[in-house]
């Protein structure tokens, strides 16, 4: 195998999920190289050697400064013309999903996503993909090369070695359409706000709350239980609750002893941020909500009825 790992970076550092995928790739047969795309990134790139890359290809261009997918597709397609890779691996992120799918179209290459493992069976690469709300584990493969794969966020831990990588620059020609989307503003998340990562108890609210005001139901329950409040992307994006409290793929990863999910459907991207909680209690009025597939106690009902009563009962136990 000749594997290329797409190495994402932010503020001068290679990201942990990418390094985790690189470490995994290094455990498979064959050669492993990394690719770093950006502006002023040569230094950053050399760091990949310590995680199993023998070589790191770098395209250092101002057009690649902002984290936009399409110029990155051009760069990877160009690298493909020059080098022989049969496999390209990406750690899933907002950016890399778009890069992987764009490259899939450009090369006519098969893309498997949301993989939680990669194994070699009789010389073939097989991806493990939990599907349909993780209710079935599918073995996925590729009928042709190159093979592209997106690995689910947080799957592989980086493993440091004492290796060093040779850094090789390559040139890119950009397509006109690839440079048409431009970054107007990048607002970095405020780090202030309550920290939920260390909380033993988390009460989380989702769109089922119905309105931002109803977050007070969740806050009161959290207070009674001595816990913190968390939210889903749907309500954070809608401006109901701060980004600092978001749990999931693009938010925080938490593992409290108790996680109470109120009006949350249980989408995969939310699940990856809270699945290691000790006990998960879900309150949802839809008996088919995916969250009932992975909670410990599932309550089918109206949170507006249940949550205030629950808060009152918890309070009265303490009195």
């Amino acid at each position: 195998m000749a594997t290329l790992v797409f190495l994402e970076h932010h503020q001068g550092e290679l990201l942990k999920p990418s390094l985790g995928v690189l470490s995994k790739a290094a455990e498979l047969d064959g050669d492993v190289a990394g690719v770093v795309l950006g502006s002023g990134v040569k230094e950053v790139a050399s760091g990949a050697g310590a995680y199993g890359a023998g070589k790191v290809y770098v395209a250092d261009r101002t057009e690649l400064e902002r984290p936009l997918p399409q110029p990155r597709v051009d760069a990877l397609a160009k690298l493909f013309q020059e080098q022989d890779f049969d496999t390209v691996l990406f750690a899933a992120s907002v950016l890399s999903a778009d890069v992987a799918a764009g490259l899939s179209a450009r090369l006519g290459a098969g893309l498997n996503w949301d993989l939680t493992d990669l194994v070699q069976e009789n010389g073939n690469l097989v991806g493990k993909r939990p599907a349909l709300g993780d209710s079935v584990y599918v073995d996925v493969g590729w009928s042709a090369e190159p093979r592209l794969a997106l690995i689910r966020a947080g799957t592989f831990e980086p493993k440091q070695t004492d290796g060093e990588a040779e850094v090789e620059e390559f040139d890119v020609e950009f397509e006109d359409f690839s440079l048409q989307a431009t970054m107007v503003e990048q607002a970095h998340a405020e780090s202030e706000g309550p920290s939920i990562e260390d909380a033993d108890v988390i009460v989380a609210g989702g769109r089922g709350l119905g309105s931002p005001d109803n977050f007070k139901l969740v806050e009161e329950l959290a207070q009674a239980l001595g816990g913190a409040v968390a939210a889903t992307r749907a309500v954070v994006d809608a401006g109901w609750y701060p980004y600092a409290t978001q749990v999931g793929q693009t938010g925080k990863t938490v593992s409290p002893k108790l996680y109470v999910a109120c009006g949350i459907s249980g989408a995969i991207q939310h699940k990856v941020g809270m699945q290691s909680a000790g006990t998960i209690v879900a309150i949802n009025k839809d008996p088919n909500a995916p969250i009932f597939e992975f909670c410990d106690l599932g309550v089918v009902g109206d949170l507006h009825e249940i949550v205030p009563k629950l808060t009152e009962l918890v309070r009265s136990r303490k009195r």
């Binding site: 890069v99 899939s104 179209a105 098969g110 431009t182 970054m183 410990d296 009962l313």
Partner: protein
């Protein structure tokens, strides 16, 4: 402005969708419905049309039963629909699906192509980027706030690090998040009117796609096996009969969590 919205017909209720062990494909024989994530894209298109005029075209690829989802979008207020339906398209993966969708969209010359956040039966959240590459148009994904003016589209979206604001000239491809709006319910008038709106069904050959580029043959990924998920602790599921709060407290107390 002409807006095309890509919608998918998916098996109803994620947890009941099953993969057929024989064909290793998603069992699409049961009840289906429009992918809920796509109703946000339809809603956004209707809002843009209401503000600035124009037309909304629904584009879908799926079995004949996908007509139901197409009609739902028309009942919400879209103007016309194009369904790509062909026996030969069954089992299409990302490469094959986007070849067909892009071919259909190519002929429509929409100023804006909208996608939903993800399909509930595949959770890919990837299709738009492949379609945009084939159409050679700029793409903005995960958009939670969208504005169109002066021949440009601007989208605000969340990433792992905060919020990006991205701008692109039209024609462009945009995928919206489920936080962007509250989709409307079709009115009775909308439902009645949907039937008489222009609806076309096209085959792959009508799109100029040869059979080798579609369906399983045109796909580059394969499903090799199906396994049960790893066993996990027992889930207790209760229905609220007025005593759910007490039952939750008892459950927590047993585990010393309260």
């Amino acid at each position: 402005m002409k807006i095309a919205v890509c919608v998918k017909h998916v098996p109803e209720g994620t947890t009941h969708a099953r993969i057929d062990p024989q064909t290793k494909r998603l069992d699409r024989s049961g009840e289906g419905a429009i992918n809920a994530f796509d109703t946000h894209a339809v809603e956004e298109a209707l809002k843009l049309k209401e503000a600035d005029g124009g037309e909304v075209l629904i584009v879908s690829m799926g079995p004949q039963s996908a007509q139901d989802s197409v009609r739902k979008a028309l009942a919400m207020g879209a103007d016309s629909a194009l369904l790509i339906s062909d026996e030969g398209a069954a089992g299409s993966d990302l490469v094959a699906t986007t070849t067909a969708l892009a071919a259909a969209l190519e002929g429509e010359e929409a100023d804006l192509v909208l996608f939903g956040q993800q399909s509930s039966d595949s959770d890919g959240a990837v299709l738009w980027a492949a379609v945009a590459d084939r159409l050679r148009r700029p793409v903005i994904s995960q958009v939670a706030e969208l504005a169109v003016s002066g021949g440009k589209v601007t989208g605000k979206r969340q990433t792992e690090f905060g919020y990006d604001t991205i701008e692109a000239p039209l024609p462009a491809v945009v995928a919206v998040s489920d936080a962007i709006n509250e989709p409307r319910y079709p009115s009775l008038k909308g439902i009645m009117g949907a039937r008489s709106k222009p609806q076309r069904t096209v085959s792959l050959s009508e799109l100029g796609i040869d059979s080798g580029a579609a369906g399983e043959g045109g796909s580059k990924t394969v499903v090799q096996g199906l396994n049960d998920p790893p066993p996990r602790g027992d889930t207790v599921k209760i229905e609220d009969d007025g005593s759910a709060a007490e039952k939750i407290v008892d459950y927590l107390a047993e585990r010393k969590l309260v």
